[in-house]
């Protein structure tokens, strides 16, 4: 098994498992935004939003650059779409099915 790819898939799924992060990603995929502008959309602290941004960044879904005092974030469409990511998603589907088969076998065993 390719461990780095597994880690990447884990980071991706973790990043997307949160509603706020999905919302942030939608906004930055639509266009580059400053982290402070993003933070204004959510009823949470700037630091909390920054943490969400960092999770998305680690998953490769978002990139940041500095402009003066501002941190500007944009979504990486290529990463969202890349075939490796897609196959990793499909792998998750399969892992889910296999786990359910395993559970069903257990349940139906006399």
């Amino acid at each position: 098994m390719d461990e780095p790819d597994e880690d990447g898939a884990d980071a991706l799924f973790h990043a997307l498992a949160d509603r706020t992060r999905r919302d942030i990603l939608r906004r930055v995929l639509a266009g580059e935004q400053s982290v402070s502008a993003l933070a204004s959309h959510y009823p949470m602290s700037f630091d909390a939003v920054q943490k969400h941004v960092a999770v998305l960044e680690r998953a490769g879904l978002l990139t940041k650059r500095r402009q003066g005092r501002e941190a500007l974030a944009s979504g990486d469409v290529q990463v969202v779409r890349s075939a490796a990511r897609l196959l990793s998603e499909l792998e998750e589907v399969w892992r889910g099915r296999i786990a359910r088969i395993d559970a069903l076998i257990d349940e139906l065993q006399p």
Binding site: M1, I98, I105
Partner: protein, 161 residues
Amino acid sequence: MPVVDVKQDLDALSLTIVADFAAPVQRIWELYADPRQLERVWGPPEYPATFVEHDLTPGGRVTYYMTSPEGDRYFGYWDVAEVDAPQHFSFADGFADAEFHPNPDLPISHNLYSFAEHEGGTRATYVSSFTTAEGLQQVLDMGVVEGSTSAINQIDILLAT
């Protein structure tokens, strides 16, 4: 952990997953031969699958739909190619309209499921392949995804607008 190997082939756009189950080959085969058992494993709990027709014979057809958390239904079908019970079967998996007419504009994946006896249990090998990355993307968009499905769908809706 039943998954023993995973191979992603980016050039062939295929995914191979090998899993070991603590049950005889015949038992695993029955999961696929019985639509009521199959629907319990095919879709994740938040995206349950309902099998309508189920003819697991060469040239046979299997039809199903998956229901999203919002209540939207995605219709699919299998064109069953080879069946050699309980060792293997292969099928093309495609999308359909609500009357289960195949949608020729949407991608088809080719699948081979094999089961062999292994250390008193079953070693299952699943191979899915796609013709194009776009095809794979669409398959994932149509609700075949675990967990973060809706997130990915939302992203794609956004990209499409």
